[in-house]
């Protein structure tokens, strides 16, 4: 089901309220700073984590995350 090719994470930081659901689902991609706000070490989604990264983005209760073609 996963789409091949590079995907990247787009973060709308002002929308992030620190719910942390993304990091619950895909801690490999989504990191939380000391305020609980999301960041990524690398915006490119590592191979094999496409589905989990998408799941984590979809699950944001603020719609602060998107996965797009790199």
């Amino acid at each position: 089901m996963s789409e091949k090719g590079n995907l990247k994470v787009v973060i709308n930081k002002p929308a992030c309220c620190g719910y942390g659901v993304c990091a619950e689902i895909c801690p490999e991609v989504y990191k939380l700073d000391e305020h609980g706000i999301v960041y990524v070490d690398d915006e490119i989604v590592p191979e094999g984590l496409e589905d989990a990264a998408r799941e984590g983005a979809d699950a944001c209760p603020q719609s602060a995350l998107a996965i797009v073609d790199a």
Partner: protein
């Protein structure tokens, strides 16, 4: 085990059963066939699913006759919960908000909610809670519960584990002194506060004043705890310590504010985790292959927690009220109408979840609605998830865990606050 501790557990079981019975009403224990039928025939339906089963409904707790529409589909419910401007939450505190001076985050809307949530959620954020996993939660689960139970080879996991452990862990994180009377009383009062709304008006005449008294008792018990914590002067890494040092709109909280917040948090602090844990274990024991799968591969523990919460959620329904005329599906919903969102039905919507009745740990997940969704999503979610993960990991260490054949098979029941009446299990003792 002391007689006093036994008496506390008896009281907890009694309170728990009261809640279960209240939210089971006249509904079938297994409501999923009914949901399937309604999702297919009338997924946006006039009337209140809970009230028609004689269950107090968040859509109209005080039975005022407010028009209610019940939603059964995942996508409809998801869009309602993601649109807090048009779908307001203030109705969810009707009936018991007064008992807690209307300090209820769940019943706030707009900017007031955003500001309070931002301040209050800090100690509940994922990073904070994950730090407690091995420093607070696991020691409580292992030393105070699982190690005590292990030699017996049998237990009612509801009474002896699922009821007391979340409260014990949560109260430790609040920074309360360890005192069984305190734990038992606060937990019992919290249940009396939220039990105020009743569909039977005669019963409500008793429960509403009772909830006012319980709310006051909670406050009077919490105030000296807050004051003693402040007097001691040592601000620890717990909720009381956080509340005393943080600022909200440029000001520190007073002891009165803090007692009020703690009271609000206590309303949600224990029983919901009890039920979600019990529902998880019942589902896993009903599917020994899935239980074995997670026993073999512990990385599946978080999936087991999420998937069992999807398949049989504790919070089966939430409600909102239309701030203006709205459309859902092909129905126009006039301003002032409430929608009751059946989370339990949404969680088995085949439009969203393939083979929805199956307990399938590796299923492609959709955003989980079992903690609510949108800006009101359960603030204690990470505490609940972490407690459940730790509890499952440690319970998996009991070899050959199975239902005790001397008791009837546990049945999860109710349309909201779902749970089994008991959870008798056996395992091979050392």
């Amino acid at each position: 085990m002391t007689a006093k501790y036994d008496a506390m557990l008896d009281q907890m079981v009694k309170d728990y059963s009261l809640v279960t019975n209240g939210y089971a009403g006249a509904a079938p224990a297994n409501p999923y066939p009914m949901f399937e039928e309604r999702r297919a025939k009338c997924p946006v339906a006039h009337g209140d699913l809970l009230q028609e089963n004689s269950i107090p409904s968040m859509a109209d707790y005080m039975m005022t006759g407010r028009p209610v529409v019940t939603l059964y589909r995942y996508n409809d419910i998801h869009s309602v919960l993601m649109n807090p401007q048009d779908w307001l939450s203030h109705i969810v505190g009707d009936g018991f908000g007064a008992a807690v001076d209307n300090m209820l985050l769940t019943a706030m809307d707009g900017e007031q909610h955003t500001k309070y949530r931002k301040t209050l959620q800090k100690p509940f954020m994922r990073g904070q809670i994950r730090k407690l996993m091995d420093t607070l939660i696991r020691p409580v689960v292992v030393n105070e519960f699982v190690n005590q139970l292990r030699p017996h080879g049998k237990a009612d996991l509801l009474r002896e584990f699922a009821l007391p452990f979340p409260i014990r862990a949560m109260y430790a994180y609040f920074g309360f002194p360890h005192n069984e009377d305190l734990l038992g009383n606060l937990a019992s009062w919290a249940i009396q506060v939220v039990a105020a709304p009743q569909t039977d008006p005669e019963l409500a005449k008793i429960t509403i004043p009772q909830s006012m008294v319980a709310g006051q008792s909670m406050y009077e018990t919490l105030m000296p705890i807050v004051q003693q914590y402040r007097e001691r002067g040592e601000m620890r890494n717990d909720i009381l310590g956080y509340m005393m040092t943080t600022e909200h709109e440029g000001e520190k909280f007073s002891d009165e504010d803090i007692a009020n917040f703690i009271r609000m948090l206590l309303l949600a602090a224990g029983e919901t985790t009890t039920r979600s844990f019990a529902n998880m274990i019942v589902q896993l024991l009903e599917e020994p292959k899935v239980l074995e799968e997670v026993r073999q591969d512990r990385s599946l523990v978080p999936k087991a927690v999420m998937e069992t919460m999807r398949r049989d959620p504790t919070a089966g329904a939430v409600a909102r009220i239309a701030a203006r005329d709205m459309e859902v599906g092909d129905m126009t919903i006039p301003k002032g109408t409430a929608v009751l969102c059946s989370i339990a039905s949404a969680n088995r919507d085949p439009e969203v979840y393939e083979d929805p009745d199956r307990l399938w740990l590796k299923r492609p997940m959709r955003p989980l609605l079992s903690f609510g969704f949108g800006p009101h999503m359960c603030m204690g979610m990470h505490m609940a998830l972490t407690e459940m993960e730790v509890a499952l990991e440690e319970i998996l260490e009991l070899p050959n865990l199975r239902f005790d054949p001397d008791y009837p098979k546990p049945e999860i029941r109710g349309l909201n606050m779902r749970g089994p009446d008991a959870l008798h299990v056996l395992w091979d003792a050392d």
